[in-house]
Symmetry: C2
Subunit: 287 residues, 2 copies
């Protein structure tokens, strides 16, 4: 499988990367499909082929982890309800070997979690060396929901932002490649997806009437996301704003970003740390 | 996807289930392929189609777990080095959504683990409700390696066996469906697979010269497996002895066993616990 030309790959990263400085999400069209393959069919084909690359890269990452390489990957997925975080886990992350990934879905903190610093449960869920960790929601919830519902004041918010930037810098310094994706959908698309869940009995369990209550805070959430993204999009841990009204585009784009993140690690299989010929000699019949 | 006739499915379970009473592994041919599809090509096709059933069943299991159903599945994979545990994780478990599985590979206990009862680390790795847990090696290592290398005496071994039976009974009583598979390969097949790793630089990391040392204890391991299987194959948690010299047969057979275990749970999607019409009415434009 030959990787696509690096020029194009780099350019998707650059295209989706959050702009430096203040962010307004109104400037990012959730229905756009920058650099997309020419059609849905082509995107699905590209996704499958990127999947093979992802699987091959992940195997090398895992082999390295088993042999002392401390590096790992952490994919952070954020976005409003129905933005497609579960879909990315299933269609993108599902393309690599299940033993090589560790997925954590962060819900409302438990009593024990809430009694600790907000990064406590996050640190416990970090992937070990060699694995691809996936956070379905993350520490960013603690600067989003809280800001929208004003359960923390501006000073506490700023302190948490500083904590997050320090935490992510530590992660990167200790060998974690961080890939932070904001799945950006429109107000209209969310309505469509919520209504679709009501039309499908196999999706009722995903529906919570409280999600409708939260939808009333849409603009506040968009502003909170924009503020958090602007404050935490750093050189070592930039944010990517992924237009996500089109599901196949979202999956294709994130698979490309993840592939590029892995390629950037320049992984290779560990060399043998034992005498191959001696081992082969011992394994001759009748032994 | 129409499930295959139940008669055939039941019959694979019955065929591979460890016989009651003393077990000698010499009586089970690792190269046999009982009830296999007629060819490798047909088996791969059947595996893909069972994969779709597995994915559909797992989604229902997950939905149930998210809605208060306490049930879960635990697939225990045991077998000597190169027997194909990683292959099953990748080719069988890899067919379901990655968020729905929790895989734990048990290695040599850490100092902290060794300082606790041998089931301590096992209990910590149990899958939550709605998930399929996979143990790549398990609590059975503690009655195998220890017996072969005589680090525990007969009385301690018997005590551990009793602990395991009590533990597994508790698991089943609290809603876990246990599926215990012994991947049975031959002495010759292990040599072939170890030598193959030495021929493939992408597999060096999987090779450990200590595995050759352990191979010298082959007969002791077979006897230890037989004793453990005989002592822990219970009505609620039977062992399946899966002939594993043929990789496609092993994958096909375990996918069938897992599928049957899920079908046996008679899963269904949770009903809506909210007013669907009221939710739909709230979601009309312009809201």
């Amino acid at each position: 499988m030959t990787p696509e030309p690096a020029a194009k790959a780099v350019s998707l990263r650059e295209t989706l990367r959050a702009a430096d400085g203040p962010v307004t999400l109104l400037g990012y069209d959730p229905g756009s499909r920058p650099l997309a393959p020419g059609s849905k069919a082509k995107a699905l084909k590209a996704l499958a082929s990127t999947g093979e690359e992802l699987a091959a890269q992940q195997e090398m990452l895992y082999a390295g982890g088993a042999s002392g390489d401390p590096r790992r990957v952490l994919l952070v997925l954020q976005g409003t309800d129905t933005s497609g975080k579960d879909g990315v886990v299933s269609h993108v992350v599902g393309q690599v070997g299940p033993a090589g990934v560790r997925i954590t879905s962060f819900k409302k903190p438990t009593a024990e979690e809430a009694a600790h610093h907000f990064l406590w449960r996050i640190r416990r869920a970090l992937p070990p060396a060699g694995l691809i960790g996936v956070f379905n929601r993350s520490h960013y919830e603690d600067v989003l929901v809280t800001r929208v519902h004003q359960s923390i004041d501006d000073a506490a918010w700023a302190e948490r932002i500083a904590d997050i930037n320090a935490f992510e810098r530590q992660l990167v310094e200790s060998g974690t490649v961080l890939l932070k994706c904001f799945l950006h959908i429109s107000y209209t698309e969310q309505r469509k997806r919520l209504l679709a869940r009501l039309d499908d009995p196999t999706k009722y369990w995903k529906f919570n009437p409280a999600d409708i209550d939260e939808r009333a805070y849409w603009s506040d959430y968009q502003a909170a996301y924009a503020a958090a993204i602007a404050a935490t999009s750093t050189e070592h841990a930039p944010w990517y704003i992924v237009p996500s009204d089109t599901k196949w585009y979202r999956n294709w784009a994130i698979s490309q970003l993840l592939r590029d993140a892995l390629l950037g690690m320049e992984l290779s299989y560990p060399k043998a740390d034992f005498d191959i010929e001696a081992a082969r000699a011992r394994l001759q019949p009748p032994f």
